[in-house]
C-alpha cells in the first residue's frame, strides 16, 4: 500500500530525514520508535503533505500513485490520515462544524451525497461515545482548551469518523492515563482492517501490549537503523537505544522508556 524509498527531507535547510526506506502492506500495523528529535514526526508530517518540510529526494507511492505530487487535501481524500502529535487548537471553528466539513469533503470526493446535520450528529455522538468524549466537546472550538488526553481522543475520533486507508498516529498514546490508553488502543484496534494500514509512532512499549504491531522500526538521526517484530520493542525497553550505537538524545528516550516500565 505504502512504499517509501530513500526519502530525504529538510526543514529550513537542515536535513532531517536522511534516506528512509519503508514498505507497508494493507492490513499491517507498523510501529516506529526512536529517540527524541530523530525525525519521526517529520516523517509523519511529510507523508501528510506539510510543506514546511521540503522533500529533497526519494519517492513515496501509495497504491502505486505518487503521493508527494498530491496536495495535502488530496492525500487526505485518498485515505491518508495523520493523528497529530500536537493537535492544533482552532477557536471559532466548532469541532462539529470542522468534522462535518471534513466528512462531507471526503464524501463529495467519492461522489456521495453530503450528510445532513442530523445524520452527522448521530454518527458523531456514537463515535464520541466510542472514544469516551462527552458529546458536549463537539460544540467547543476545535481542540480549544482540551486537555492533552482529550486532544488525543479527539484525533482518534476523527480517524474513526473518516475511516482512512492509511492511519499515521504520531504519539497518540503520549500523555494518556491508563483508562484513556485503553480507550485509544481500542479505537486503534477498531481501525485495524484487511484493507487498512497503520503506522504508529510511539515511545512506549505499553501501547504495543494493547496494539500488537506486525513490525517495529527504530528511527535514529533520520534513518531506520533497525527493523524487527514486536520483540524488538521489548528489547528496546530492556536495553535502551545505546546498544544500537545511537549516541545523541538517548537519555531522553531511555528515560521515556523507563517511565513506561513503571
Amino acid at each position: 500500500m505504502l512504499s517509501i524509498k530513500n526519502l530525504h527531507a529538510s526543514v529550513e535547510g537542515k536535513e532531517i530525514l536522511k534516506g528512509i526506506n519503508l514498505e507497508i502492506k494493507a492490513g499491517e500495523v507498523h510501529a516506529i520508535m526512536g529517540p527524541n528529535g530523530s525525525g519521526k514526526s517529520t516523517l509523519a508530517q511529510v507523508l501528510a503533505g506539510n510543506d514546511a518540510f521540503e522533500v529533497t529526494s526519494g519517492s513515496v507511492t501509495m497504491n502505486d500513485e505518487d503521493l508527494l505530487e498530491k496536495e495535502t487535501e488530496e492525500r487526505a481524500r485518498d485515505g491518508v490520515f495523520l493523528a497529530f502529535q500536537y493537535p492544533v487548537e482552532i477557536p471559532g471553528v466548532s469541532n462539529l462544524q470542522f468534522m462535518r466539513t471534513s466528512v462531507n469533503a471526503m464524501r463529495h470526493h467519492r461522489g456521495e451525497p453530503e450528510m445532513n446535520a442530523a445524520e452527522f450528529m448521530k454518527l458523531a455522538r456514537e463515535i464520541s461515545k466510542q472514544v469516551d468524549l462527552d458529546p458536549a466537546f463537539l460544540k467547543r472550538g476545535v481542540n480549544e482548551g482540551f486537555s492533552g488526553g482529550e486532544k488525543k481522543r479527539n484525533e482518534i475520533m476523527q480517524a474513526l469518523m473518516l475511516q482512512p486507508k492509511l492511519a499515521i498516529l504520531d504519539e497518540t498514546d503520549s500523555g494518556l492515563d491508563i483508562d484513556a490508553l485503553k480507550v485509544v488502543s481500542d479505537g486503534v484496534n477498531a481501525l485495524r482492517a484487511e484493507d487498512r494500514a497503520i503506522l504508529m509512532v510511539t515511545h512506549y512499549q505499553r501501547l504495543l501490549d494493547h496494539i500488537v504491531p506486525d513490525f517495529v522500526h527504530v528511527l535514529a538521526d533520520g534513518k531506520i537503523v533497525k527493523s524487527g517484530g514486536r520483540e524488538l520493542a521489548l528489547e528496546l525497553e530492556d536495553r535502551g537505544y545505546a546498544w544500537l550505537g545511537i549516541k545523541d538524545d538517548e537519555t531522553a528516550a531511555s528515560s521515556a522508556l523507563s517511565n513506561s516500565a513503571n
Partner: protein, 429 residues
C-alpha cells in the same frame, strides 16, 4: 498635479431644499457660516493621519443628489422601515407606526416649537472639533428623522433605516437621524447604507442618540455602499444613569469609509457594548475611530473590533477610552484584532487610553496577524479544501461578533456579503 485643497471647498456650503421649519433652516445657515474656514484633513491631521489620502472631494460632488427614486422600497425588512434616498425620507416607501408614545417624524413635518427643541439638541452628542464632518452634515441636511420615545415606550420590532444613494450623477447626500430615548424606553435601530449607480458620490451622515435614565438602545449599522461612494459618517451617543447602549457596526470597504463613534457615559451605572467588524478588499479603505468617555462613576464599556484586510486594502482602527477624574469604578475593556489576508494589505491600529481616575479596571489589547499556517494544515489534512479552510479560519475570526448581531435578517445580509467576499478572495489551490 493640483495641490490638495487646504480648505473645504465653498461649493459644499450651499444647502439645497428649503422645506424645513425655520429654526432648522437657521441652524443650518449658522453652521454653514462657521465652516467657511474648515481645514481639509491632511496627513498631519492626527485623527486623519492614515485616511486623508483617500478623501477626494471634487466640486462636482458638492451638489445635492436629487431626492427621487424608490429602489430602497423594494427591500423587505422584518420590522418597521424608513427609506432615505439621497438623504431625504421617502414616505411612500416607508412603513412605521405613529404612536402616542413613539413619534417618528421627518424634520420637515415638525412644528416650529418642536424644531426649536430639536435645534437645542442637535450636535449635542458630538464634539465638533473632533468630528469635523459632523458640522458639515448640520450645514447641509435637507431632511432628517427624529425618533422620540416617551418614558417606558418600547418599540416592538426593529426599525430599519435604509439609506440609499442613487449615484446616477455626481453629487452628495447628508442623511441625519436624531433619537431621543426617554426614561426606560427601548429601541432597536438598524441603519443600512447602500448605493446604486456608478458616479462618484459623497455621503456625509450623522446619527445621534440620547439615552435617558434606564433607556436601552441597540443600534446596528451596516455600511454596504459601492466602489464609487466616499462615506464619512458619525454616530454620537450620550447616556444617562443605568442606560444601556449596544452597537454593532459592520462595514465593507470603499474608496473612503470613515466612521466616528462617540459614546459619553454621563450617568452613573451606564453601560455600552460596541462591536465592530470591517472587511476590506482590492484597494478599499475603511477607518473606524471610536471614543468612549467615562464621565460618571460605575460605568462599564466593552468594545470588540475586528478588521480583515485582503489584497491591497487598508483598514484603520483608532479606539480611545477616556476616563474622567470622577469616573471611579469604571470598567473598560477594549479588544481589537486584525487579520491581514495578503502581504499587500495594511492595517493601522491604535488604542488610546487616558485615565484620570485611580479606581478603575481598564484592559485593552490589539493584535495584527495572518491566518495561522498550522491551523490551515490541520484543516486540509482532513480533506477540507484550501478555499473552505481559509473561509473557516476567516469566519472563526469574526464568528462571535456576527453571531451577536441580534436581528437574524441582518446576520443573513452580512453572511451573504461575506460569502461574496470569500468567493473573491479565496481560490481553490
Amino acid at each position: 498635479m493640483k495641490p490638495a485643497p487646504t480648505l473645504l471647498s465653498t461649493a459644499f456650503l450651499h444647502p439645497a431644499g428649503q422645506a424645513l421649519p425655520e429654526p432648522l433652516l437657521a441652524l443650518r445657515k449658522q453652521r454653514g457660516a462657521a465652516l467657511v474656514d474648515m481645514p481639509m484633513p491632511t496627513r498631519k491631521t492626527e485623527n486623519w493621519k492614515y485616511s486623508s489620502k483617500y478623501l477626494k472631494l471634487t466640486d462636482e460632488m458638492a451638489t445635492s443628489l436629487p431626492a427621487t427614486g424608490k429602489t430602497g422600497s423594494a427591500l423587505a425588512v422584518p420590522g418597521y422601515k424608513v427609506v432615505f434616498i439621497n438623504g431625504v425620507v421617502m414616505p411612500e416607501a416607508s412603513e412605521y407606526p405613529d404612536l402616542d408614545n413613539i413619534r417618528i417624524q421627518r424634520f420637515g413635518d415638525l412644528s416650529d416649537a418642536e424644531a426649536s427643541e430639536l435645534v437645542e439638541r442637535l450636535d449635542s452628542t458630538l464634539d465638533a472639533k473632533a468630528v469635523q464632518f459632523a458640522g458639515l452634515n448640520t450645514a447641509r441636511f435637507e431632511d432628517g428623522l427624529v425618533i422620540r420615545l416617551k418614558p417606558d415606550a418600547v418599540l416592538d420590532q426593529p426599525l430599519f433605516i435604509i439609506h440609499e444613494v442613487t449615484a446616477d450623477s455626481s453629487g452628495s447626500a447628508f442623511p441625519r437621524i436624531f433619537v431621543d430615548a426617554g426614561r426606560n424606553s427601548q429601541l432597536t435601530l438598524v441603519e443600512e447604507y447602500i448605493s446604486s449607480g456608478q458616479e462618484a458620490v459623497f455621503v456625509n451622515s450623522v446619527t445621534e442618540f440620547t439615552l435617558a435614565e434606564g433607556a436601552n438602545v441597540t443600534n446596528i449599522r451596516l455600511s454596504m455602499g459601492g466602489e464609487n461612494v466616499q462615506h464619512i459618517g458619525a454616530t454620537g451617543v450620550t447616556q444617562q444613569r443605568s442606560s444601556r447602549f449596544e452597537s454593532h457596526c459592520v462595514g465593507f470597504g470603499g474608496p473612503l469609509r470613515r466612521h466616528d463613534l462617540r459614546v459619553r457615559l454621563e450617568g452613573k451605572g451606564a453601560e455600552c457594548k460596541l462591536n465592530g467588524v470591517v472587511v476590506t478588499q482590492s484597494t478599499q479603505h475603511y477607518d473606524n475611530h471610536t471614543t468612549i468617555e467615562h464621565v460618571a462613576p460605575n460605568c462599564d464599556s466593552e468594545e470588540t473590533y475586528r478588521n480583515i484586510a485582503a489584497d491591497k486594502s487598508h483598514a484603520v482602527f483608532n479606539g480611545r477610552i477616556h476616563i474622567h477624574p470622577d469616573a471611579q469604578k469604571s470598567n473598560a475593556n477594549m479588544s481589537n484584532k486584525n487579520l491581514l489576508l495578503s502581504t499587500g494589505a495594511e492595517i493601522d491600529t491604535k488604542p488610546e487610553l487616558e485615565i484620570y481616575a485611580d479606581d478603575v479596571k481598564c484592559a485593552h489589547g490589539a493584535t495584527i496577524g495572518q491566518l495561522d499556517e498550522e491551523s490551515l494544515f490541520y484543516l486540509v489534512s482532513r480533506g477540507i479544501g484550501r478555499r473552505e479552510a481559509n473561509v473557516l479560519l476567516t469566519m472563526a475570526f469574526i464568528n462571535e461578533l456576527v453571531a451577536q448581531i441580534p436581528v437574524e435578517a441582518v446576520r443573513d445580509t452580512v453572511q451573504a456579503r461575506l460569502n461574496q467576499f470569500f468567493d473573491q478572495t479565496f481560490q481553490e489551490a
